[in-house]
């Protein structure tokens, strides 16, 4: 086992870099997308509410694997149309489809976290901002979004941890992340349990490093709050 790890260390390290890249990029894009979706879900206008609601329902109600296959393989069914608009060169690339699906998926989950955080902002703060004469856009920029981001952080770190694990599915469409590296090495030398145990160890280390880091950020964000108001433990993602 130890000789196996020392022999393949650099391959797994390269895989870990890919895993972290996919996690970081998809979380960033997903979070940016999540804010307008959350605001649409809170809107009273039907034309805004329903598209966002259907989007969230679809991406939370179907398996990520189905979404990846739908975009990566499914786009092939529209190849002539995609070629005509010059998008085929992206959709035939596994990395593009992987990032796209992961971002769309995490955007749906993050928007629900963010919606909850927005709803939890005390009404009085919004009224105070109105009384100060802030326009809706300024209220969003200075009151709603900063407050909601801080409140959403504990649940959002949960989402980042899920995203690290979710990226393992991109190995199925040939991306060489940690799982991808493990699968290739395993099938080349029949070192199945060594390869997958090593992959598991890499994920464990990454996940618990992220949790430790997130706790420190949380302590900063919530330094002004009494201890009872601080984050709750991890639970199953719904």
């Amino acid at each position: 086992m130890l000789t196996f790890i020392s022999e393949h260390w650099s391959a797994f390290a390269r895989g870990a870099v890919i895993t972290l890249q996919y996690t970081a990029i998809s979380c960033l894009l997903g979070a940016i997308l999540a804010i307008p979706i959350a605001l649409m879900r809170l809107s009273e206008k039907r034309a805004l509410f329903w598209p966002a609601t259907v989007y969230v329902l679809f991406f939370r109600g179907t398996p990520l694997l189905a979404q990846i296959f739908l975009i990566y393989y499914g786009s092939g069914q529209f190849r002539p149309a995609l070629e005509a608009v010059g998008l085929w060169q992206f959709f035939r690339e596994p990395w593009f489809c992987a990032i796209l699906t992961l971002s769309l998926n995490t955007a749906a989950y993050s928007s629900e976290i963010f919606r909850g955080a927005l709803q939890a902002i005390p009404r009085g703060e919004i009224e105070a901002a109105m009384a100060l004469g802030l326009s809706p856009l300024l209220r969003l920029r200075f009151i709603l979004i900063p407050r909601a981001l801080a409140a959403a952080w504990p649940a959002y770190t949960n989402e980042i941890v899920y995203q690290v694990q979710a990226t393992s599915l991109v190995s199925i469409i040939t991306v060489m992340d940690i799982t991808g590296v493990a699968r290739v090495i395993a099938s080349r030398n029949f070192d199945f349990y060594q390869a997958f145990l090593t992959a598991a160890a890499f994920y464990l280390v990454i996940v618990y490093l992220i949790i430790a880091l997130a706790k420190r950020v949380e302590a900063r964000l919530h330094a002004h709050l009494p201890a009872a108001d601080r984050g709750v433990g991890r639970n199953v993602r719904v």
Binding site: L57, F58, R60, G61, T62, P63, L64, L65, A66, Q67, F69, L70, Y73, G74, S75, G76, Q77, F78, V161, V164, Q165, A166, S168, L169, S171, I172, T179, A182, R183, A186, F190, D191, F192, Y193, F196, L197, A199, A200, Y203, L204, V207, Y208, G233, R234, N235, V236, R237, V238
Partner: protein, 231 residues
């Protein structure tokens, strides 16, 4: 409507296997979760350390890696161990059992948290009243605590179930002919990947929506007779 080119029956067979695997895994997860929750709640340090290790490991490792470890890793590990002892054996696990075992193992950890929370929600007075009636510890657990725990556990278990059903799609990777795998086969045969993966997605969505509805009904049922009892 989606044109399935005569492959609709394949999706239907896939759905049946998806439901069977999901129900079997959920049953397993409930049993594992209950045992783990009581082990964690017991005063034994060793037991609670064991459960902590279990939940920590499950939360830190992707489902796909655990599945590959169970399906490919365990047979080779057993073979290597047997070879070291001088035996030659060939071990294989079928995808059905490997899938159920992996999903049970993962969601047992989440069910454990649900049951632990539910247990803590049952007022201590209920247990004390049972003890005062002269019931044994097992009888208190079985007759007094467990029935009340389920009322608190239903929302959490409903969430675990809905996530679990989606997780079974991963078993398609080890060629179990459930919904996702059959959609893949049909997609390749007809060269209509979007149609079949979209149809499969809609079926998963229908299962999720039906589960949400059933969960609402179950919560109402479990709260019958409790004043203001809807959690």
């Amino acid at each position: 409507m989606l044109e399935l080119k005569g492959y609709g029956w394949m999706l239907w067979e896939g759905v049946q296997l998806t439901v069977i695997v999901s129900v079997a895994s959920m049953a397993g997860a409930i049993i594992v979760g209950l045992l783990a929750a009581f082990a964690k709640l017991s005063s034994s340090r060793a037991q609670s350390l064991l459960v902590d290790t279990y939940t920590t490991v499950v939360r830190g490792i992707p489902e796909l890696v655990l599945l590959l470890l169970v399906y490919y890793g365990i047979p080779t590990l057993v073979q290597d161990a047997a070879a070291a002892l001088g035996y030659r054996v060939t071990v294989t696990i079928n995808p059905f059992l490997a899938g159920i075992a992996t999903i049970t193992f993962i969601y047992g950890a989440f069910a454990c948290e649900v049951f632990r929370g539910a247990y803590l929600n049952v007022p201590a007075g209920q247990r004390e009243a049972g003890a005062a009636l002269g019931l044994s510890r097992i009888a208190v657990l079985w007759l007094v605590v467990l029935p009340q725990m389920f009322r608190y556990a239903i929302p959490g278990l409903g969430n675990v179930w809905m996530v679990l059903v989606k997780a079974t799609a991963l078993i398609s990777i080890i060629q179990l002919p459930e919904l996702m795998r059959n959609a893949d086969v049909a997609a390749r045969a007809t060269r209509m990947p979007f149609t079949f993966f979209f149809a499969a997605s809609l079926i998963y969505l229908a299962i999720t929506l039906a589960s949400m509805w059933a969960q609402g009904r179950a919560e109402g049922w479990a709260s019958r007779g409790v004043v203001g009892g809807r959690l």
